[in-house]
Amino acid sequence: MTKELVYKSVGELAPLLEAKQLSPVEVTEAVISQIEQYNDLLNAYLRIDAEEARLAAKMAETEIMRGEYRGKLHGIPVGLKDIFYIKDKVVTMGSKIHQNFTPAYHATVIDKLVNAGMVYTGSLNMHEYAWGGTNDNPHFGPCRNPWDPEKIPGGSSGGSAAAVIAGLCIASLGTDTGGSVRIPAAACGMVGLKPTHGRVSKYGVFPLAWSLDHVGPMTKTAEDAAILLEYIAGYDANDPTTSQQPIPSYSDALAKDIKGMVIGVEEEFLKDLQPGVEQLFHKALKTLKSLGAEIKPIQIPSLQNAHYAEMITVLAEASAIHHHNIKTRPEDFGKDVRISLQLGELPSAVEYVQAQQIRHRMKKEFQEAFKSVDAIIAPTLPFTAPTIGQEISLLNNKELRVADELIRLQSPANLTGLPSISVPCGLSDGMPVGIQFYGNAFNEQIILNIAHVFESTNPMQNKKPQLAGVIENV
């Protein structure tokens, strides 16, 4: 039983903890044991706070035994990407430059998770400053994919994905500027939700590119993503981009079926896919139809400009943030991030403004599309996780840059601020493949429900990473 606990979801553990049939101490010890056994291999954690986790678990146990159960995250071991400010803890952003940075306050989402009673287990590996999708970190070493340690887990929130799926924590949070929650979720076979821009506060979260950044749950199931979103969503006076829109019960929305729902398909999302990904995508369409959904072709012409708009925006905003350090200590950045930051100094102001014009047009086109569909489906990644260090991928007989391909299908959600969730749809050559559902603004409950219903068809057939026999299939 102890070993099995680490592979359970929040939704499975919470009722047992509430009913006092299971202690947070038991769950936390199981997670710590898993970390001790596999972190050297996966390099998912940058810092393990085992003793603090034990104390927090004991406190949660005492509170629950006293009848002071706080809710579904009470006593749940949560690891966090090393980009969220945690008071008096070193937060590195995966960088050398911030190796001794100790914030004086909690990020708003950290405050919320602490109040919910989470058991914090430590900080998780990430791409340096979140500026990349591989999590091949030059300062702390690459994080590895639990399905195949020679492959990337995706990034930038790679440590979060590797830790959750390998049972080194129960749930996590990531940040997503061009897919950094959904890329690793797809590459590691789990759920990643990028909520609507303004749904979750970014106060105390180190930025990559302000206008594209989002915070989102990374979990084993859509239900867990709904649970986490309920805790972290909401207006924050410290983050002027947050919304006062009411927060629905995302968990309650999961009870619904998807009969009669209309799901749009845009051809632009289906270009240059690995054959195995294409096959599983079409299989997913069939599954959705069998569940009662209608599949409808749609057109969003500005998608052809999405990659340009994303690149110009993220390059310019990230370089503005790091401008001082790229001038004064370029050698302290890893090579790929250094080049991206220098590259971001080169586009013209006109290009940046035009990129924002494209975003505005794209938003209008998505708005138009959502008049006739409930969600839009797309593959999350065009390929399964590439090998660590791989720079080029052959797709549709074209040699394409891996770093570009990682974000190609996801950046429209960042450019428009629309919510998007990635959910596993099967395995191709033993590696996970994800599909994503785009939703209309502040309609996370709809895409969570579709993901949940799709997930209930068991597309992964209960398979879990085995790390070549190292991690047991439970």
Binding site: G198, S211, N305, H307, Q356, I358, H360
Partner: protein, 60 residues
């Protein structure tokens, strides 16, 4: 291209290591190619340039 990169780095006050030039050129060239699709797109005065997207992009 190399001259443009060099001159911009001088203007913006950062130094590029010699080993980084080749990669920078390649990546700038890739952006230039992506831009071709934008040059073909007619952006008008009604395509406003919202630098930030407040509250989910004014969808509500």
């Amino acid at each position: 291209m190399k001259e443009f990169i060099y001159q911009t780095s001088l203007r913006m006050g950062f130094t590029i290591q010699e080993e980084d030039f080749e990669m920078l050129e390649k990546r700038l060239e890739a952006i230039k190619k992506l831009r071709n699709s934008v040059e073909d797109t007619t952006l008008g005065e009604n395509d406003m340039a919202l630098v930030n997207i407040p509250n989910g992009g004014d969808f509500a």
